[in-house]
Amino acid sequence: MLEQFLAQLVNGLTLGVIYALIAVGYTMVYGVIELINFAHGEIYMLGAFLCVTFISALGIPFYPAIALAMLCCAAFGILLDIVAYRPLRKAPRLAALITAIGMSIFLQNLAMVIWGSRPKPFAQEAVPAYLKLTAVDVAGVHLTWLQVFIFAVTIGMMGGLYLTITRTRIGTAMRALAQNKTAAALMGINVNFVISFTFALGSAMGAVAGVLVSVYYNTLSPTMGYVAGVKAFAAAVLGGIGSVPGAMLGGVVLGVAEALGAGYVSSLYRDGVAYAVLIAVILFRPSGLLGRAVIDKA
């Protein structure tokens, strides 16, 4: 019994940290410009496809290919902001939201045109062999080095992100923007630059998540971003949208709730259990697990 529980916990944690990695992208953009970037899931998908393309078409090794995919996605995040969201900065929030959904559909279909609609396996030959070996196998907990790698990368990136936000000038500027965009601009902060930086950071982390998922499951498809995006969005809301530690916690809670829900309640209610947790949290803590209650400026 305990063995099964531990195994389910590991299943949930692996899923959860990946949700967390995508969720921070949502939450940061929301924190800074109050936009729910529904195209974020597609950037995650692009990260995976770019990485595979770099490996198979250009022969770049695994780790540099991830780094390159991160860079490309960061640039792409900035481009997305400039093309789709910047012109609507002063428009009603609903307009930007609809544009985001439009971009999501557009990017999905663009990927289908470029890479075809069939799901592809990850370029396994490029993945270092040790990642496939078992790291821990005790009392039902079966961990591969790949899972350890996923945990390590996630924790490392989260730590780095936390330091960036709290200890650097640009992080301070991001927080200032989140408080009040106009006042921040008056203080001499280059608002568009900070927003671009936020998109770049969130997109790079999304790209890493995309690569990790496609290596872990050995599959990538142009539509993979949709479900992941919805889940990550839910995780961001669960943690308190706008809060970075909240997104991390929300992702992990959602992943574990899903795994335990599927394992102990019913597999058909897997998503149901996850969303029930979300609803319960929002009912009793409307600002999410770690979100602060904000007084709306309007």
Binding site: Q8, N11, P121, M224, V227, A259
Partner: protein, 383 residues
């Protein structure tokens, strides 16, 4: 000046339309409704490959009585709502004389009422749901929907017999996709398996779209099965096979025709080894015409033929023969297809001889293949 410009434009358009109508009189249009975008686009792509090959071959030989065949591809995302819309637009378009589709049972069921009401003959290459046989008649009792594939109940029972008689399984865990196909297949399988004295030790469901199946597999593993029946399609099937190995569920795996695609091998890699699957089309059992088709397919698309493409190729062939024999008229085409009810009047295609029973269902044999050395190879057949 401006007004004159308009007049010229109008005349030009009218002239174009007129010349167009002349040109189009030599064209016969058929519809092909399947998912061409969205998550199920790869499956729609298989169907399109088969249909387009058949139509191109007919056109290369000069078409039907001098008329070229044109296929109108209609995307329905395998979504019942979209399928209903697509069928309505086909009904409005008088130039479409018949339809190859739909791919998914759920979509096919949603589109059926429109076809039946408006009298449009339709032939599905892949929709296996049992319910279709009850809903494809109009008020006069005429069957409008045909299919060139066996039904879920047949396949499910066949698989159960195979699992018991050939694979010797005693305790089977079932993992099914929560849709018409997955449930229909699973129900038929379980009923027959229980009759044969097999214990169904666990039953879990999954919803299309999630890449993670480890919680359900961990639970199934705890039930200690000796075989895992995956009732779904190859995309998820490959992930399930791979993850089953990761959670330590190393048992014999088997699935149905939804598994039949090379991508299953590519995505599941080593975990695919030893998977058994039923198919309506088996290369080694197919005749010379099929071998030729397979070679052409490989050259054209750079991948091996899957049963969806083979069935779609034949379904289009059946529709085109009906058009050739009966003329481009919806009611006459239906009549001709309904009359293909004996082996003598059947259609000899690459997937074997097809003729329809009173429900419009083709009587197709099932074959079994397995994965060995990273390839699909014929398995021992059930007599």
């Amino acid at each position: 000046m401006k007004r004159k410009g308009w007049l010229v434009a109008c005349i030009a358009v009218a002239a174009l339309a007129f010349s167009g109508s002349h040109a189009f009189a030599d064209v016969i249009r058929i519809g092909c409704a399947s998912p061409f975008t969205g998550a199920l686009a790869p499956y729609g792509d298989n169907v399109k490959a088969g249909v387009s090959m058949m139509v191109e071959e007919v056109n290369a030989k000069g078409g039907i009585n001098g008329s070229m065949i044109e296929v109108v591809y209609m995307d329905e995302l395998c979504d019942p709502k979209e399928a209903a819309t697509v069928s309505a637009s086909i009904a409005r378009d008088d130039t479409i004389v018949g339809v190859v589709g739909h791919l998914c049972s759920s979509a096919h069921l949603a589109a059926l009422p429109t076809y039946v009401r408006h009298g449009i003959p339709v032939i599905s290459p892949t929709a296996t749901s049992v319910t279709i046989s009850d809903q494809n008649r109009d008020r006069k009792g005429l069957v409008w929907a045909f299919r060139d594939v066996y039904r879920d109940d047949f396949q499910g029972m066949f698989l159960a017999r195979y699992a018991v008689e050939k694979l010797g399984l005693k305790r089977i865990a079932v993992f099914y996709e929560n849709n018409d196909y997955g449930i229909g297949l699973k129900d038929a399988f379980e009923k027959k398996a229980k009759e044969l004295g097999v214990e169904i030790v666990g039953e879990e469901a999954y919803v299309k779209g999630t890449p993670d199946f480890t919680p359900q597999l961990t639970k199934l593993k705890a039930a200690g099965p000796d075989g895992l029946f995956i009732s779904g399609y190859y995309n998820e099937g490959a992930l399930i096979a791979d993850q089953a190995r990761k959670v330590g569920l190393d048992v014999l795996k088997f699935g149905a025709d939804g598994f039949d695609n090379e991508d299953y091998l590519k995505l599941a890699k080593d975990a695919a080894e030893g998977t058994y699957l039923t198919v309506p089309f088996l290369a080694s059992e197919a005749g010379p015409a099929a071998q030729e088709f397979m070679t052409k397919y490989r050259e054209r698309f750079g991948r091996e033929v899957d049963y969806m493409s083979a069935n779609a190729y034949d379904a289009a062939g059946i529709l085109l023969r009906a058009i050739e024999q009966a003329g481009p008229d919806r009611a006459k085409i239906r009549e001709y297809m309904a009359s293909m009810d004996t082996p003598e009047k059947g259609y000899a295609g690459v997937s074997g001889l097809t003729y329809f029973d009173a429900n419009g269902d083709a009587q197709k044999p099932a074959f079994v293949k397995m994965v060995k050395g990273g390839k699909f190879v014929p398995a021992e057949q059930l007599k």
